[in-house]
Structures are given as C-alpha cells and as structure tokens.
Symmetry: C2
Subunit: 472 residues, 2 copies
C-alpha cells in the first residue's frame, strides 16, 4: 500500500468522509472563496465532457436544437406561475444592483428555465407549422442551498435542460417518456448505473408540473440519488404565458410542454455506486483516460514495447506514467483515479514476452502476450462495463425490501439502508408522516406491481405501490 | 426578389438597421423579458458550436485543460487587485440575497475570472512541478452594459477564458503570444477575417494587465471590432494573491500569469464583415449547413438525383428544402441564412444531365454534370473561403489611411470611415484628445512600422505608430 491510498477513509466506516476523500484524491473538484460553489477540476470536467458528448448526439438525433437563454429572470416573469415561484423562491439568488445602480426590478439567477423558455416560445410559436419546438441548453444554474457537497448538492451546477412544446397532449407525453428512456439507456449503458425509473407521487413532483418521471439510483450506502427527471406540464404554463397557435383548422389552441434535465450530479452517482477503498472506479465508456501504462524500469526494449502498444491503442485515450515515483505509488495513483485498465510493463514480464494487465474494478491481474495486450484490453473494457453494471444491480436488489407494516418500516428506516416497497394511499399526509418518522421519502411509483394491501400508514385503501428511501 | 429579402435594409443606407435585420431574418438571436441579455437561437448557436469545436481542439493540442469555475465572486475577492476592481466595478451585477436572506457579503456575477483562478491557483501551486497550469473554461460572463446589441455588446455573453500560470516571465510571454496566434490563425482560416494583431497602448490595456494583445477586425462600415485579446500579467496578480512556488533550487518564487478570451462577439464580426443585402454570408468552414438542396418540381428522377447527391455529400451537413414555398422564396431563404452553396435541381437541367450550383458569396451560378456536382461543391468551398478572406482584406486595406496632421485626422474622423495610421507619444492625454475630437480610439501599436514624425496631437517626439479608429 502506498502512502497515497491510505488517505482514503474506509468506505464502510464513514461513507461521507470516504466520498470527500475520493473527490479530493482523484482530483475531481474542490472549493475556493465562493461559498458552496464547487470548482470542477480538469479530471472531473473531462468526465462531464464525455457525458455531454454522448448525450448531445442523442438529443440531436431526436431533432433537438441547442440554444443560449438568459442567466437572469426578472422577478415578475418568475411570478407568473404560482406553484413554480413557491417551489423555487426559497432557494434563488437575487441580483439587485447593476454597477453602481439599484435595479428597478430585481432579477434572480435561473434555478431552472421554464419561464424563460415560455417567454421565448410565446413570441415564436404562432402556427401548428411551428411545432414541435425542441430546444435544449447546456448551462449553469443556481440554487441557494444551505448545506452543499461537491456534485451532489452545490449552489451552482452544470446541466442540460430540454424544454419542448407540442401540438397535442399525446406528443408531449411521448416526448416526456422518450427523453426519460434516453436518460435511462445512457445511465445504464454508459455510466453502468442500474436506475429505477418511474413516476413521482404528486407530493414529490416538480413545482408546476402535471407529472414528473424520475431516475433513482441507489448508492453503495443504500441512499437514493435522484439522477435526472423528465416533466410533463400539460398546457398549464402555456396558458399562464398566453402561448397559442392556430391549428390546421385555423382554430386557436394552447400547446403542451415538457422539460427534462441531467446534471453534474451524475458524477456523484458514479463515485458512490462504483468507487471502493482504493478510490474512484470509472466505467470504461466514460473514462477520460482508459489505459494507464506503467513502465517498471527502463531500457530500449521496454520503450519499443510501449511504442508498439500505444500505436495499437489508436484513439483510445491513455497515459504513460514515466514520473520518478515508485511503481507502488504509480499503481495507487492510477487506481485512485479509476482508470479502467493498467498495463504494467516490467523486465521480468518482457523476458517472457508478456505484460501485466490489471482491471481497476476487481484489481485482478493477468499476464498476456505483448501482441495480445491491446486486443485483450478492448475485450476487458466490455467485460468491466458489464460487470460493473451487474454488481451494482445485484447490490441494489439485495437492498430492496418488501415492507408490510408501519412498525417494520420505522425499524427498517433506522436499521436497514436501502429502498422499501410499500402500499400507500394518495393522501399526502401519509408520505409526510413517513418522512417525519423515518427520514425516508417517496422515490417513485412502482409501475409493474399492483397494490396488495392497505395504506401502510393510515390503513385506508391504498392507491399504489411506491419505493421509499433516504436521499441525497 | 422574394418578399423575404425585401425585409433587409440596404447595407449602405443604414448599416445599424441592416445588422439588426440580418440577426432577425437569419434567425440568429433575439430578446425576451431579460433586458439587454440576448437569446441565441438554434442557427446562431450552431455557429458558436462550430467555433467551440475547432478552438477547443486547438487549446487541448497545446495542453490546456477545461474546468468549471464559480459564477459568483465575493466582493472581498474582487477587491484584492485595485486596478482590476476599478476597471470592472461600474459594470458588474451584484447578488445581495440568497433565498429570503440577505448575504453577509455581496457577490458579483463574474465579468471575467482572473481573481477566481488566482484564488484556486494559490491552493494548488506549490512547486515548479505544478507549473505550468494551463486551465480554460467555456462559460457565460456578465457586464452590465447600458446599450446593447446582439453579439456585439450584450449584458451576458458566452466565451472561453484561458488562465495560465508559468514559472518564468519568458514562458508566460510565450504563452500570451502563442494563444494570440492561435486566435489569429483561427479567425483568418476559419472565419475569413483579416484581423490586425498588435499590442494595446497602456491606456487601452486590460484592467490589471501588464500588457494586452488584441485582434482588431474592420467591419464593412469601417468601424473596428475588438475580436479577442491575450493578456500578460507579469506576477502582479500572483503577488496580490500570495501565489508562490518552490523552484528547482528550493527557493520561493512568484509565478507569471496570462489570460486570453474569445467570445460570441465573433459572430457579430462574421455578419458585419461578410454579410450583404441578401443576408448573412457564412465561411464554408464554419457554416452549420454547408449545402442547401432545392428541388424545383417533383418526380422519380429528381428524387433519385437528390439521393445520389446527398449520399456523396457524406458528412457535409446539408438541408433539402421540400417545403411548399415557391422556388424564389426558397432561394431567398437559403441566401438570408448564408448557406455557402445552393444546389438547384430542376427538370430542364435534369434533361441535360445537369444541376445548377449557386455560390452564396457572389451569387454566381454554374451548371455542372450531376456526377460532378459534389466534387465541384467541395472545390467551391475552398474557393469561397479564400475569396471571402481576400475580398475582406482588400476592402480593409482600402480603408486604412496614413494620416500626417491633426487637422486631417479630425476631418477623416468625420468623413472617412476606416483606420488611420498616426504617430503618437506616450502621454495618454493625447489619446484622450483624439477620442474627444474624433470619437476614434487607439486600436493597437503598429509592430512593423517605425515612427516617421512627431506626435500628431502635441507635436512632441512620438513613441510609436498606432492605428486609431471608431469601435463597437
């Protein structure tokens, strides 16, 4: 064990400190003088760039177009929709002065941009020919949180927000679910996160939305991370903002709206799902550096083998650690940053015509012939990607409990980390009571299970089955 | 002439209205309820994405890494460097409240991020091994301007800002000039903008910098657009922020700093350099849609020719206008958006085995054999790109005047749009007087011309030759 690795707290002893240690040691993010606002460092930002690159192509494939919307929202604009302002007012930052002058009307830094898009759409939607409008933006938003943690809850974060308008309810609902599934596929296939996908209860839906679909990931410690949402608004905002269009029969109609967003929070989800006591573990598909080559010793033969391997790697991003540190330090440094494959090239191996491949996810080593090294590395990327998903899925499923009685729920809330499946009625007070007694909140409605008992809280007829769990 | 085109004001009659008309008719940008803050629409944003894509690769090629820095700067942090705060205080937006609470210390929205990067660098630079630090960010910034125009002067704009730290003066100066030349090459080769590159006079340099290099483009109307800057800071900020490192001799040193930025303003430069009375004209290398295919009529043969051509176009972005508008309208619509090549496919041409290619920059038409259409289109991209640059260069050079007397300068300031070459001394009052009498400001020092007379203002010994001109 090198000195480096010992800086990481044991994951099972103190999960919160372990998380902070990984963020620091893998050089992902830090803080400066702007309280509660994270700085994303190059390695963390490179993960975000990879996420952006994949998702942006997916969005465009479905006809979405990127735009830049204003950072600031005039107070009167935010006030147009009542539920929305009530939801966001406690956590927006207010700009009151421009230069040395007081503004006539204060403006908030966007916490989300529904009202800004409505303000634009009312000017550019006139006819059914203008629909659908499928705009997206990659930007920063701000929510004035009291307690913050890098990636998970930060006053400022980066995200994308899609905001779309459609001629019919059906089209808008189809879009809401289409983008939910784009998110789901991305998180499963690229981030190796086994997300639970479902509808939020009315109590937990987005301020102003008709319904909200969510992606809920379970972290190593059993706590939920809401990892993205897709909202259906009906035509409620459109009515408030007077957005209308002439349909094919020349009749005035109101369009139907959606919005959907994914943020830098996902990086927190990757850390807490896949990381271990050696540091970060990155899914190969999203890793900024996929291979770490570590020469042990020096020499002509060693250099020529490195040259051969890097040439074969072609466009696979790799690094060669030729620093003057010890091999042990280099191994630990590649592990803490979660680089999927390490190739160790030492003299003893070379004599046998071999190199050593080390999988970051399992730390398993295997010797391979030099000429097979890159082929095997590529095979391992697929295997690691799948194994990471399957391990996370298995662990998650082992931490989902079917809970029948309220007593049991309270006990589980204290003693069993994870998600609980329960029957519940549609009275929001029952969700509130669970929250007060157990700190668990509704994650989402379970789509494929029917109610099989009374409401676990009040004993009345249950409306649906839901997952509950603690959350970040 | 279709109805569409007639919405554009004559460029020679009213340049300002012409500009506004292009921005609107080419669907580049608009405004909403957030005063002075532009909305960049999909077509304008796609130009920005192309700019980003080229530049980001260039930055990375030189070892720069992207990061995310905070949006807000605490007042005390901004106050650390005196000149810097004095330069920016009149135009920053202040956040005073978070949610319902007044902040203990107000924070401004970053107008630029020197102090934020210094705040980070002081924590992560300790040894010569940590240098150079070559960070960049793509982000939004805010300057509370009184009068705004889309792309040219907007309260919020998008840009990239590189901020680097180096062990020696020489390294920092080399970086300052390296990035200046990356900018110059990009603007010449991609945007077809013949920029004048040089050092700002002390009066015009960036607040807090030791020296500022600028890229000055001349618009169609002779007015200058400062199209990017690269600053050398010496170790002045580093000293203010207590940034130090141990050099190879284990002695404490202060690092040397640069910053450099390019913004969405460049889109304004493209419009005002290349546009004409038919609308926008885009350099092929940066056009989001490079080919507009316009079928005239219908039929099997026509469809199969379109299929053949689009297949050959491969990854060249094109559009097919199959709307129910008239051909004249479609031509005008492709012209107003500046699409470099239009391919008209009509029945009469097809009978001869031909299609018509139309260059957007000259509106010249040529008939080519169907099988040669794509090959010729690709040739034309190169020709158009070069011709656009050369035309702009010729026009600019025709509007540069060698001015010998102050009387002549005042007269030219009133009657001759363009840049004036003059001798001037280093007393800033002389620049101020020119500004007051002619509205012209110093553009930059002319590097390759020696002083050939006294200061044009005071008659004392001149220090250098400079360009002066009106500016956006």
């Amino acid at each position: 064990m090198s000195k480096l690795v010992t800086k990481i707290t044991d994951r099972d002893k103190d999960f919160a400190s372990w998380y902070t240690d990984i963020v620091r040691e893998a050089d992902l993010a830090t803080y400066g003088s702007s309280k509660g606002m994270m700085i994303i460092k190059p390695y963390g930002y490179a993960i975000w760039e990879n996420i952006q690159s994949v998702l942006d192509k997916e969005f465009k494939r479905f006809g979405h177009e990127n735009v830049m919307m204003p950072l600031l929202i005039p107070e009167s604009l935010l006030n147009i929709e009542k539920e929305h302002i009530e939801g966001f007012a406690p956590e927006v930052a207010w700009v009151t002065h421009g230069g040395h002058e007081k503004l006539e009307e204060r403006m908030c830094i966007r916490p989300t941009s529904e009202v800004l898009f409505c303000d634009l759409y009312k000017n550019i939607i006139h006819s059914y020919r203008d629909l659908p409008k499928l705009y997206n933006q990659w930007c920063n938003v701000m929510r004035w949180e009291k307690t913050t943690r890098p990636f998970l809850r930060s006053r400022e974060f980066l995200w994308q927000e899609g905001h779309t308008m459609h001629a019919t309810k059906e089209d808008a609902m189809e879009e809401t679910l289409r983008m939910l599934h784009v998110y789901e596929d991305f998180q499963r296939n690229y981030l190796a996160l086994p997300v639970i996908v479902g509808k939020k209860t009315d109590k937990e839906k987005f301020a102003g939305a008709e319904c909200t679909y969510t992606l809920e990931a379970m972290m190593y410690n059993g706590v939920a991370l809401q990892n993205g949402t897709s909202h259906y608004f009906g035509n409620h905002f459109a009515k408030c903002f007077n957005i209308t269009f002439l349909d094919q029969n020349n009749e005035l109609q109101t369009p139907y709206q959606t919005s959907w967003g994914l943020s830098t929070r996902m990086i927190g989800g990757i850390i807490m799902t896949h990381g271990d006591n050696h540091g970060l573990v990155l899914p190969p598909k999203i890793a900024p550096i996929k291979v770490s080559i570590i020469p042990i010793g020096e020499g002509k033969e060693l250099s020529s083998v490195i040259e051969k391997i890097t040439k074969e790697l072609e466009d696979i991003p790799y690094e060669i650690d030729s620093s003057d540190k010890t091999p042990g330090y280099k191994f630990a440094y590649s592990e803490v940053r979660g680089i999927p494959i390490r190739i160790e090239i030492g003299k003893r191996d070379l004599e046998k015509g071999e190199v050593t491949l080390v999988r970051r996810d399992t730390l398993e080593k295997e010797n391979v012939r030099i000429e097979d090294a890159v082929k095997r590395t590529k095979e391992l990327f697929k295997i690691i990607q799948d194994d990471m998903y399957n391990r996370a899925l298995k662990r998650r499923d082992e931490m989902i409990y079917d809970v029948k009685t309220y007593e049991e729920l309270v006990d589980y809330g204290k003693n069993k980390p994870g998600f609980m499946k329960i029957n519940i009625c549609d009275n929001p007070d029952c969700e509130t009571k669970i929250k007060e007694d157990t700190s668990m909140k509704s994650r989402c409605i379970i789509e494929d299970e029917s109610v099989n008992g009374p409401c676990i809280v009040c004993g009345n007829k249950a409306t649906y089955r839901i997952y509950v769990g603690k959350q970040y």
